[in-house]
């Protein structure tokens, strides 16, 4: 904890190096305050909007007549609005904030001309708003993960370029000699995303490739947004917050390097597994399956590294909100990645592709892993830039349990529903005479999924409760006055001093 007196004493040349370092970090944090607040604030607004779209889409699936007469709220549009609001609205806004805050801290450089990042944030959010409006009014491209109409994309591209440039500039001005693994991940993500996005825009929208080459571009892009943007940012955050909160270094430097390079090499080939059995060349499907399997290496390496860092400190999970969310995310990363590798096996893909199982998997990745890590990061970052603590530990606790139980429940329900759906859809039941009979009628399969879809909607209500608790705590924190003296971080319960405040 740094109090005003400690800050003052840090200006004294005889002060300890630790205090000088804390004062420096404090200044760096202060330089990121406005843009980080803008990005996190809008991220939370989009999270709420995305949740509303999600609930609507989920309930429409078992009650199609719900608001069925409004064309702009038809399932195909609301579902798309949900995906884009939570991906480009919530997740990207949050990852921008986390990325440049981490970069500034780790490079030991203050953010220069932070006004440019405010402009970037404004452009990004105007772009997302336009895009969602376009989807609801009928301008969607219906290309998965790229639904925004072409009038929204230049704004997004411009905003992205600004954020990317500013983060790289911050890195270049850094005083730190060492490049920490989180910085590797962030720099790589910042470079990869524009490449993916430009190729996809050009080859799908401005000058579409012929035939199913489009599908290859589509899944190369869509899977790599996960693998080469969200995953590196999420892992970068885990690599920072895990050791930071525990106050000890990451277990192995070499394992983190190995994890990084194996991810960089294998992940970007994996996207083709979405096209197994489809009308694209078989060799490229096989390459995709191979790469999906090779992903076991970075996943296991990263999991071992994180686990060995945590070992002996698991009691800290009782106290620190940041740690609890981050560790949940890290464990979910291991689970969802191994699940993803298994889903590329031809016979398992034959069954689970085209079913709710895939939807469960994507929520395990984007929510149980990425979103939970972002929650943890925001719980750590905001008190440091606002210089005040979270008002309510109860609300954080509610947020954690509602979201953790909600997402586990959702993934389980969708997985069961998907496997059942896949078996019924792809097998010929053996009749009494021992010969394969007629396939199960399609509408019967649809009917069988309805109870599961209802359970999924209930899990969505749990997530909504968590998000509301988070949003209330956030607004309350913004509004409450800054305390005069030193403050202690908001923990789930009072325990030994575990969290390093600054």
């Amino acid at each position: 904890m740094a109090s005003a007196s400690q800050l003052a004493s840090s200006l004294n040349p005889s002060a300890s190096p630790e205090l000088v370092k804390r004062a420096e970090l404090s200044e760096i944090d202060a330089s990121t305050k406005l843009p980080a607040l803008f990005f996190f604030g809008s991220a939370i607004l989009w999270l709420l909007a995305g949740t509303v779209f999600a609930l609507l889409a989920a309930f429409k699936m078992h009650n199609p007549a719900l608001l069925g007469d409004y064309e702009w709220l038809t399932f195909g549009r609301v579902r798309t609005a949900h995906l884009n609001a939570v991906i480009y609205g919530w997740s990207v806004n949050a990852s921008f904030g986390v990325a440049f805050w981490l970069m500034a801290r780790l490079s030991r450089a203050e953010l220069r001309h932070s006004g440019m990042l405010l402009i970037a944030a404004a452009f990004w959010n105007i772009g997302v708003t336009l895009g969602i409006y376009g989807i609801l009014t009928g301008d969607s491209t219906s290309i998965e993960w790229l639904e925004f109409p072409s009038y929204a994309t230049p704004l997004l591209f411009f905003a992205y370029a600004l954020v990317g440039a500013w983060t790289v500039i911050t890195f270049r001005f850094g005083r730190s000699k060492h490049i920490y693994v989180s910085q590797w991940y962030i720099l790589a993500a910042l470079f990869w995303f524009p490449w993916l996005y430009s190729v996809a825009q050009i080859m799908l929208i401005f000058s579409p490739a012929r035939g199913t080459v489009q599908s290859l571009v589509n899944w190369w892009f869509a899977h790599n947004v996960l693998g080469l943007w969200f995953t590196p940012i999420g892992l970068g955050a885990v690599y920072y917050f895990l050791p930071k909160v525990l106050g000890k270094p990451i277990h192995s430097y070499y394992l983190s390097v190995l994890g990084f390079w194996s991810l960089a090499i294998f992940y970007n080939w994996a996207g083709v597994h979405h096209l197994i059995g489809g009308p694209v060349p078989v060799w490229v499907q096989t390459a995709g399956i191979t790469a999906s399997f090779m992903m076991v290496i970075p996943v296991i390496v990263t999991a071992v590294n994180h686990h060995l860092t945590m070992v002996g400190n698991s009691s800290a999970l009782k106290y620190s909100p940041t740690l609890r969310f981050t560790v949940f995310g890290a464990v979910a990363y291991t689970f969802t990645s191994l699940q993803g590798s298994s889903m590329s096996i031809r016979s398992w893909s034959e069954l689970t592709h085209f079913t709710h199982y895939t939807i469960g998997h994507s929520h395990a990745g984007m929510y149980a892993f990425f979103t939970m890590v972002m929650f943890g990061s925001i719980y750590y970052i905001l008190p440091r830039i606002l210089l005040k603590e979270w008002p309510s530990a109860k609300l954080i606790s509610l947020h954690f349990w509602a979201c953790a139980l909600g997402i586990i429940f959702m993934v389980l329900v969708l997985s069961f529903a998907g496997v059942k759906q896949g078996i019924d859809m792809n097998s010929l039941p053996i009749g009494a005479d021992g010969k394969p009979g007629a396939p199960a009628p399609f509408l019967e399969i649809v009917k069988n999924t309805i109870p599961w879809l209802k359970l999924r909607s209930y899990s969505g209500i749990l997530l909504t409760i968590g998000h509301l608790a988070f949003a209330v705590n956030f607004v309350w924190m913004l509004l409450k006055p800054r305390p005069a003296g030193a403050t202690a971080p908001t923990l789930f319960r009072n325990g030994p001093e575990l969290e390093v405040s600054r």
């Binding site: 790589a188 799908l204 579409p208 035939g211 097998s427």
Partner: protein, 225 residues
């Protein structure tokens, strides 16, 4: 030692590798695949869709139909798409070469639509779709497809009733007030035209020789035992 340039180089080659392998190689190898011209009738297959169906595809796109319906028939032995009657053969890359946008789809909440125009053809097919889009449960009990009544218009009859009025196809509960009739909006007409146009031609000779592996007949299976 400043290792940033080295790291950057690695990052660059990682993505360049998959871009070259997945995108560039395939663009070169089959990105200029053309239609097959049948020497017997001189027509190019797959045939281009007429105007109304092409506009209907845009309706399909803006309503987000692709999120519940795929448009690809899996090859025999991989799933049972053909046994389900979703097509006579698996889809091949050439089927899609004439399409400005390809909707392979990734979800089958509803059935595959690649050959829906073969399952529901002609006037009967049109009438089925008119009922289905108005309220899917008319034709398909237990369906969870959303109703598409916004593609229809209920209007007052001025002069003679329209020849295109559709209420006679709909059940009692949807009958309009006396003096009114229900007609399809142009978007609805287009979407139905698109549905009726979805039908892959017979397999092209080149693919038949190279790709298509016919299912082993029961007799052969017996022999193998």
């Amino acid at each position: 030692m400043n290792r940033a340039p080295l790291i950057f180089l690695g990052i660059f080659f990682a993505i360049a590798f998959s871009w070259t392998g997945i995108i560039l190689t395939n663009q070169i190898s089959y990105g200029s695949l053309t239609r097959y011209v049948n020497p017997d009738d001189g027509k190019a297959y797959p045939q281009a869709s007429p105007g109304e169906a092409a506009r209907g595809k845009l309706v399909y796109q803006d309503l987000g139909c692709v999120y519940c319906h795929s448009q690809q028939v899996r090859q025999p032995g991989f799933g049972i798409d053909i046994e389900r009657g979703w097509g006579d053969r698996g889809s091949v890359a050439r089927d899609y070469v004439g399409e400005q946008r390809v909707f392979l789809g990734s979800m089958r909440t509803g059935p595959d639509l690649r050959n829906v125009g073969a399952r529901f053809a002609g006037q009967g097919g049109r009438e089925w779709h008119i009922k289905h889009f108005y309220d899917p449960t008319i034709t398909s009990v237990d369906s969870i497809m959303p109703p598409h009544r916004f593609l229809y218009e209920t209007r007052k009859i001025v002069g003679d009733p329209s020849l295109k009025a559709v209420q006679s196809l709909l059940p009692e509960k949807y009958q309009p007030a006396p003096g009114h009739e229900i007609v399809l909006k142009q978007r609805g007409e287009d979407l139905i035209a698109y549905m009726l146009s979805l039908k892959d031609p017979e397999l092209y000779p080149e693919e038949a020789a190279r790709v298509y592996v016919p299912k082993a007949s029961p007799a052969k299976k017996e022999a193998a035992k």
